[in-house]
């Protein structure tokens, strides 16, 4: 009989999406904060 353990499967995929998404967001934030400075007019 196939074990019923969908909860673990969904939890893993949600955690991984949050981790990858969180890291992508952190890169986006850092890239924005470091936008090349324009010389003063």
């Amino acid at each position: 009989m196939t074990p019923q353990n969908e909860g673990y499967y969904y939890a893993a995929y949600i955690v991984v999406a949050l981790l990858y998404g969180g890291y992508a967001f952190s890169l986006w934030r850092r890239a924005r904060a470091l936008k090349p400075r324009r010389p003063a007019a």
Partner: protein, 217 residues
């Protein structure tokens, strides 16, 4: 968003859709077996990332080109993220299948050590101010850390371990049905593209940061 990042996002969405809707459930392990399609690709990419850190670090020590140091830094950070995924998804898969979240056996323990080594690598980079010294020290640590990779891969053959033997990365044919193998291949592709997108973005950040530090000096 760069074109590479867009491709990575689409590829990861395709992996999720393939796993959720088009991949059969394993009769013996149940749905938890599907964790394999994000766990194994993350492990592969983590090894790739740290291997490239070692190559770039060795070349930095030889050529003293700061672009190599920046690449090593970027790849190490990506590698830590993918190793974190491995260390989180492994126990979530292990709990329903092995009956335990964690076992202090060789492959799991060495993977945890690998994660700590490259975490130390990133901490080292953040605490040493001298640019040349930071690059030299981290290059040595980056190369030494990668020595763990072959041991982690071979640990399932060399020691009694609860971790299963490889089903794909072995000399004989993969021991999986074709529809599961296709899902795994999509996962490998998507995760590798995601690594490339993360590392390239991180490299660009490091390049701008170093240019601004140069202007401020």
């Amino acid at each position: 968003m760069s074109r590479l990042s867009l491709v990575a996002a689409v590829a990861m969405c395709a992996t999720y859709i393939r796993v959720f809707f088009f991949t059969p459930i394993d009769r013996f392990q149940g749905a938890a077996q599907k964790i394999f399609y994000i766990h194994a690709p993350a492990a592969w990419v983590a090894f790739l990332a740290f291997f490239l850190v070692a190559i770039a670090s060795g070349m930095y020590l030889w050529l003293r080109d700061e672009r190599l140091d920046r690449f090593a830094e970027s790849s190490a950070e990506s590698g830590v993220i993918f190793t974190t995924v491995v260390l989180i998804t492994g126990p979530i898969w292990g709990r329903p299948v092995w009956g335990t979240w964690w076992e202090w056996e060789m492959r799991l323990t060495l993977t945890l050590v690998l994660w700590f080594v490259y975490l130390a690598y990133l901490v080292l980079r953040s605490v040493v101010d001298d640019v040349q010294m930071r690059a030299r020290y981290s290059a040595v640590l980056g190369m030494l850390g990668a020595l763990l990779i072959p041991f982690i891969h071979l640990s399932v053959y060399l020691f009694r371990t609860q971790h299963p033997l490889p089903v794909v990365m072995k000399t004989s044919r993969p021991s999986m049905p074709n529809d599961m193998l296709l899902t795994l291949a999509i996962g490998f592709f998507a995760t590798t593209i995601l690594y490339a997108a993360f590392t390239r973005t991180r490299y660009r950040i490091a390049t701008v940061r170093d240019a601004q530090l140069g202007d401020d000096a």
